[in-house]
């Protein structure tokens, strides 16, 4: 079995990881994936949100794939990917806990005079004293020095990744995907340094390393009280240009261990998306998810499922020139036989499932309510006959987790569509107005949902996803079909019902995509 590793660096990496988690939940991930985040700002809101999503994913998956209690069948793609993290935790900070600045980290006062002079020449005094606990504030030179000094197999976090060399020796494919931005501090500095360290340590033909590098795609109003050093959005473009020149030089001169990346995806956006919040570091830095991050996650899914593309080193993902961004513009993920790699099919089904579960069936299965429906055929066939035990805590725990996940997924989808739209480009993937409430993003960077979700989607459910096929099931047909459904072989408990509902929410074949080559 292929071993897959996903490493998200900085805020952009964390948000790409969030998108990757949703793809995995919808069934577009590998069977098994290790995930880790690199960010010195452990209280960063982006990272916090992704870590919470990771915990929710793992808890939901464990509840739905729990043999003997509640288990989906082997074939279902729902929460297919088993996601692991390092034993020390999913997040790793390049900056040790006791260190607050570069001067501390490099023991400035204990340096020899020549070294100290060189250090002072390379870094401004403000950079040397900058508080590293909130990231590198778009100063990749600072980040590169810190990361380079700290990525090592002795670190608990990196042990699993460096141990992949043993997998490669057993003729297993190892695929490592790194995501970061070129324009920030943490991502820009960590991306090439970490890739270089891994390539050096895992030098084997069975090990593929690819990455997605996000070019500037968002901006925000400059914070009023951020101190002398902060991520200045106006400098993103210039930093990106300088960084791209560096990458060009680096990729055109392969090192002794071969090229740094098997494939490198470059992500961008036609114009900078304006974020509704302006914060720099800390819990407040919780940006809304944006479409380029989904592109990054799709690149990772493609890499994990198919391996590197052999005839191309740098891949550009482009969209059709049109004032409307639709499913046609999202790249498909070629998958193994039996899996559906069409993003519209996969995310559309997950969206419909989430709306149906959260808006209709989830609340019915709560402990005080479910008995009202135990005479219904769908209940008797899919819940009573499979010993769901909805009065018990395990089933209710699974229901609650899945409900929370569906809510998080819907909020993420609504936010990604609304916040990625701007003058001249309307993102039209689904009818977001029927799901998401009006107003700015909440404190966690995500938009809120309508309270009366069922009332808003019940009539438009077949066409909820843009360009749905005319035969996509309505909520009415889903209820009829559930009444006639039988549990899949191997499915048991609440998961048998969940799987049946998930299947019923599949999109009918819509109009063929006009994807350009």
């Amino acid at each position: 079995m292929t071993k897959s590793y996903f490493i998200g660096i900085g805020g952009t990496g964390a948000r790409c990881a969030e998108a990757m988690l949703h793809l995995c939940a919808a069934g577009l991930g590998p069977e098994d994936m290790w995930i880790g985040f690199v960010d010195p700002d452990s209280s960063n809101g982006n990272l916090e949100r992704t870590k919470e999503m990771l915990q929710l994913y793992q808890a939901t998956r464990a509840a739905l794939r729990n043999p003997g209690t509640s288990q989906v069948s082997q074939e279902t793609p729902l929460f297919r990917t088993e996601i692991r993290t390092a034993r020390s935790g999913a997040c790793w900070s390049q900056v040790p806990a006791e260190v607050t600045s570069m001067r501390d980290l490099f023991h400035h006062s204990a340096m020899e005079e020549d070294g100290r002079n060189l250090f002072d020449a390379l870094y401004l005094r403000e950079e040397q004293d900058m508080d590293l606990s909130h990231g590198f504030r778009a100063r990749p030179a600072v980040g590169a020095a810190v990361v380079g000094a700290r990525v090592a197999p002795e670190e608990d976090f990196w042990q699993d990744v460096f141990a992949a060399v043993h997998e490669a020796k057993q003729n297993r494919d190892v695929r490592i995907f790194i995501v970061g931005s070129v324009f920030g501090g943490t991502g820009a500095s960590g991306f090439p340094v970490i890739a270089g360290r891994l390539r050096e340590a895992l030098n084997s033909p069975r090990v593929s390393i690819s990455g997605a590098l996000a070019l500037p795609y968002f901006t925000y109003a400059e914070p009023e009280s951020a101190g002398p050093i902060y991520a200045h959005p106006g400098a993103f473009i210039h930093q990106a240009r300088g960084a791209l020149e560096h990458y060009r030089d680096m990729l055109s001169r392969p090192g002794p261990n071969g090229p740094l990346f098997d494939n490198l995806y470059m992500l961008g956006w036609p114009r900078l998306l304006s974020l509704p919040v302006s914060r720099t570091g800390g819990k407040g830095q919780c940006n809304p998810p944006l479409l380029p991050e989904l592109y990054g996650a799709l690149a990772a899914a493609r890499f994990f499922l198919n391996g590197p593309t052999r005839d191309a080193r740098i891949l550009h993902i482009a969209r059709n020139a049109s004032p409307e961004l639709t499913w046609d513009d999202l790249p498909g993920v070629e998958t193994a036989a039996g899996m559906d790699g069409e993003v519209k099919t996969v995310l559309g089904r997950m969206l419909r499932f989430s709306a149906a579960f959260r808006g209709v069936y989830g609340p019915l299965l709560a402990r005080p309510n479910h008995r009202l429906y135990e005479r219904h055929l769908w209940y008797r066939r899919l819940l009573a006959a499979t010993n769901a035990g909805l009065d018990g805590d395990p089933a209710q725990n699974a229901r609650t987790k899945l409900d929370s996940y569906c809510r998080a997924f819907l909020r993420w989808m609504v936010t990604i569509v609304r916040c990625s739209s701007h003058d001249g480009l309307a993102v039209n993937l689904f009818n977001d107005g029927s799901i998401g409430a009006d107003g700015p993003p909440d404190g966690d960077g995500l938009l809120l949902l309508h309270d009366d979700l069922f009332e808003r989607v019940k009539r438009i459910f077949p066409t909820l996803v843009t360009d749905s096929g005319p035969d996509s099931t309505s909520l009415e047909t889903i209820l009829d079909n559930l009444n006639a459904a039988r549990p899949k072989p191997g499915a048991e408990g609440l998961s048998a019902f969940v799987e049946a509902l998930f299947e019923q929410c599949a999109l009918a074949n819509g109009k063929p995509l006009r994807r350009s080559a």
């Binding site: 209709v360 069936y361 019915l364 009202l372 005479r375 009415e476 009829d480 009444n483 006639a484």
Partner: protein, 171 residues
């Protein structure tokens, strides 16, 4: 269209079953009905009166079954067209099903009495109730299976009954 296929199939099966029953009744010996004849028939006229009686009873059967088919068709079409997005919208013992059943049940009683009184020639008066009851039995035999099995699962009366019983027990 998918929802209407069971309805069409149910009507077709009912019509075929009705035709088979009528054919079987037609094959019966008219003398079997002579015991139901009024005393005024005797001798050679008894045979002709028994023939008429058999025909009259078949008319009662066919009309009862016809009403059953019509009644079940009305319910099946209603059930197929009823929009239910949410399980909580599934009616607990649908008033439509109750009203429809009652209406066609009463219509069958009235029609059977009318037919027996006007067209069933020579039936002994005391047996009128028996023939009407047989007509009602035919009605029920055709009406219930059709409404129970051909209704789409969401609106199936057995589910609705159980909902009603359960709602009562919870109350």
């Amino acid at each position: 269209m998918k929802k209407f296929i069971p309805t069409l199939l149910a009507v077709f099966i009912q019509v075929v079953a009705c035709a088979i029953i009528v054919a079987l009744l037609n094959m019966l010996d008219p003398n079997l009905f002579s015991g139901l004849l009024d005393d005024r028939f005797s001798g050679r006229s008894q045979k002709f009166a028994a023939e008429d009686l058999k025909f009259g009873i078949i008319v009662v059967f066919v009309s009862s079954i016809g009403l059953a088919i019509l009644g079940s068709l009305v319910w099946l079409v209603y059930a197929a067209m009823k929009v239910v997005y949410h399980p909580k919208d599934v009616p607990a013992l649908s008033p439509v099903w109750s009203a429809n059943t009652l209406l066609f049940f009463l219509a069958t009683i009235v029609l059977d009495y009318l037919l027996v009184g006007r067209f069933v020639y020579g039936l002994r008066v005391g047996y009128t109730v028996h023939v009407v009851l047989l007509g009602l039995l035919a009605f029920l035999v055709f009406y219930y299976p059709a409404t129970f099995f051909a209704t789409r699962p969401t609106m199936r009366p057995s589910v609705l009954f159980r909902n009603r019983l359960f709602a009562r027990s919870q109350a």
